[in-house]
Amino acid sequence: MDFMVFQYPMITIQACLDGILLGVLFALIAYGMALQWGVMNIINIAQGDLVILGGYIAYFMYLYGIHPAWGVIVSPIIMYFVGVGIYKLVINKVVDRDLFISILATFGISILFMQLMNFAFGADVVLANSGYGTTFLFDSNVVLPNSKIFSAVVSIVFAICLVVYMKKSKLGRAIRATAQNARAAKILGVDTEKVYAATFGINAALCGVAGALISITFTIHPYMGLPYTIRSFMIVIVAGLGNLPGVAMSGMGLGVFEEFADYILGTEFRIGSVFLLLVLILVYRRFKLSRKREYLK
């Protein structure tokens, strides 16, 4: 245990800012997961692998001399079609089954993606350099890489666009209707098959954006997807489905929590602390639920 993070105010500020910038990115991935979970009742274990695949798209652009920031535009477009493809090949066969089947199916997709990426791109760790420089705050005691700020801003922009799209567009309304009651939506003339495909595609596109940002801010590797799946799962569990501000808040909360866990417990417990928090929250929810039931009795 090391409480240095509380002893120096500058480190506390640094940890909070790092956490928030990181959390916004997590929230974007989690938003995609919440969307398709809500609409299709599918927990997508391959979420993190879609993120990594999106990262590779940006990386390859960088390799061919295109600035990786363009990946934020190109990657979601490609990933949208990848998502629709996955839906047509696998997901539409499990969408009405129980949750367990869909978890198994997406777990399979996750393994397949990892191996394919490893096969296609190699096992080396890669990254795309943005060359964005650094912002210094508080007499350069707090340092923020501009790439992190860029990724947070882009995440927010995409999230806002998506919210507006969901509210205003025809497809967005159809998606929301299907989420509320698929059968009723069908009766009222919504082509749910199309809605499902589009939802999965939008989710994959969001993963694509996040992946491109991760390749600019951190590193990517074919086997690095799972932690992103777990984080987004965790955020969705905390925020609940269809609670967008909740997703944003719990995303940032998770980011800050991780940063502090990193300082206090050590980097090795960073992901471990996320798991622990997940268990605690699940137990707490169960506890609250059982109290409610007693009350109803």
């Binding site: 096992a123 951190f218 090795e268």
Partner: protein
């Protein structure tokens, strides 16, 4: 249905036939000495797995074309049976079992990485099969009392030892303040133990001692501490991802530290990803082509590098060089044993004392090579941004002068 059954029984009959015929396929067939190796051709170690395989193949071709191995007045050629262990320790152990009990292999070459070597060593030990490995440096491999394990490389705890000693020397013999961050795997933790030993002996102080997770891609927290506490040396070991992450974030956060020492930081890879930001990093390496060791098969390191590049179209990393050296050791041991008896070959291996292009090889009781020091090189870039590894320590082989302390970011 019936046809299916017939086909199935036919296939199983053929399979049984094949497997029995494979058993008779022993270690030495005709004029071939068959070696077995489980290599990571897929999975997370696949790039280094391929380097290992290329190193093995290069040496097999070279030894075979230069007269092969002479045992009992007869000339034999090397052949290797490879299986893909998928970077998975369990799979590697199974494959070792299969190589030995099904394929009848009596001499093994090592896999890539300490973790996989650890998984295979108990199997080869159980069957008394000599294994010469070139890619498992973890100290724990050499403290278990294995009798049939031989490693051509220096153990992991010596990787960055020389960096600390150099820093102390430059500090006028006074102890230095060390910040360190290590991944939690067998190899990196051994590197860490080596640093602890070196720190103790030199009276240095460890002020930051962080552990990094396997899924590492962010070490900002460690670097913030480094920025605040201003150590003299920062040591990072977390395979390639550790090196890449460290360089990226040190540059982005403009962390000034007089000495940065790492493992797994090949200049070609680092500078391809980071350009001049990787400059001045010190890297521990088992081998560098500019070292002046010699043998009659590959000539010198420079010659090896040139031949390797001709065949595989890339500059050989040390993983390939040490793998090639493993074959030279086997050849030498077979000829001295003048027999294919496993026990005799094992004893001959234990008595190895030779020089290869890769370095001197002499095994200690535990099987590690004690005759070859680690080298330290520094990434140096020219004006055009082309970066190269230059050996800076030990002084005997230094081809460039160590730049110390690293210039501040504000002056670069």
């Amino acid at each position: 249905m019936k046809i299916n059954k017939i086909i199935l029984s036919f296939i199983s009959a053929v399979a049984i036939l094949l497997s029995t015929s494979v058993v008779s396929f022993a270690k030495v067939v005709g004029d071939k000495i068959v070696l077995g190796a489980a290599i990571s051709l897929t999975g997370k170690y696949s790039s280094n797995g391929v380097h290992t395989q290329n190193g093995y193949n290069m040496a097999v071709d070279r030894i075979n074309s230069m007269g092969g191995v002479k045992v009992g007045g007869k000339t034999y050629k090397f052949e290797i049976i490879y299986y893909d262990d998928e970077s998975n320790p369990k799979r590697a152990a199974q494959l070792a079992e299969r190589l030995i009990s099904q394929d009848g292999v009596e001499f093994m070459l090592g896999p890539y990485s300490s973790g996989l070597t650890k998984a295979i060593a108990p199997v080869t030990e159980k069957y008394g099969v000599p294994m010469v490995e070139a890619n498992g440096a973890s100290r724990s491999l050499f403290t278990k009392g294995y009798k049939y394990l031989f490693a051509v490389l220096a153990p992991a705890n010596l990787y960055l030892d020389v960096a600390i000693r150099t820093a102390v020397e430059l500090n006028g013999g006074k102890g230095v303040r060390i910040a360190q961050a290590f991944e939690q795997d067998a190899f990196s933790q051994d590197v860490r133990l080596g640093i602890l030993d070196a720190a103790k002996e030199t009276g240095s102080e460890i002020i930051i001692d962080d552990k990094l997770p396997k899924e590492l891609n962010d070490m900002a927290a460690t670097l913030v501490k480094v920025k605040q506490m201003k150590p003299d040396v920062l040591v990072v070991s977390g395979h390639t991802k550790g090196a890449l992450t460290a360089i990226r974030q040190i540059a982005e956060m403009k962390v000034d530290v007089p000495m940065l020492a790492m493992t797994h930081c090949d200049a070609a890879k680092l500078s391809k990803q980071h350009g001049k930001n990787s400059q001045y990093a010190l890297c521990a390496s088992q081998w560098h082509k500019s070292l002046t060791y010699k043998d009659k098969f590959f000539g010198s390191g420079m010659k090896y590098a040139a031949d390797f590049e001709k065949e595989f179209k890339y500059d050989p990393p040390y993983q390939s060089a040490e793998s090639s050296a493993a074959l030279l050791v086997f050849k030498d041991a077979f000829e001295r044993a003048n027999s294919f008896d496993k026990k005799k070959v094992r004893d001959a291996l234990a008595a190895t004392n030779m020089q290869t292009f890769y370095g001197n090889i002499k095994f200690a009781e535990g099987g590690q090579n004690v005759d070859k020091p680690m080298v330290l090189f520094q990434v140096m870039c020219d004006g055009a941004g082309k970066c190269e590894n230059k050996v800076v320590a030990p002084l005997k082989w230094a081809s460039a002068k160590l730049i110390h302390p690293i210039p501040k970011w504000s002056d670069r």
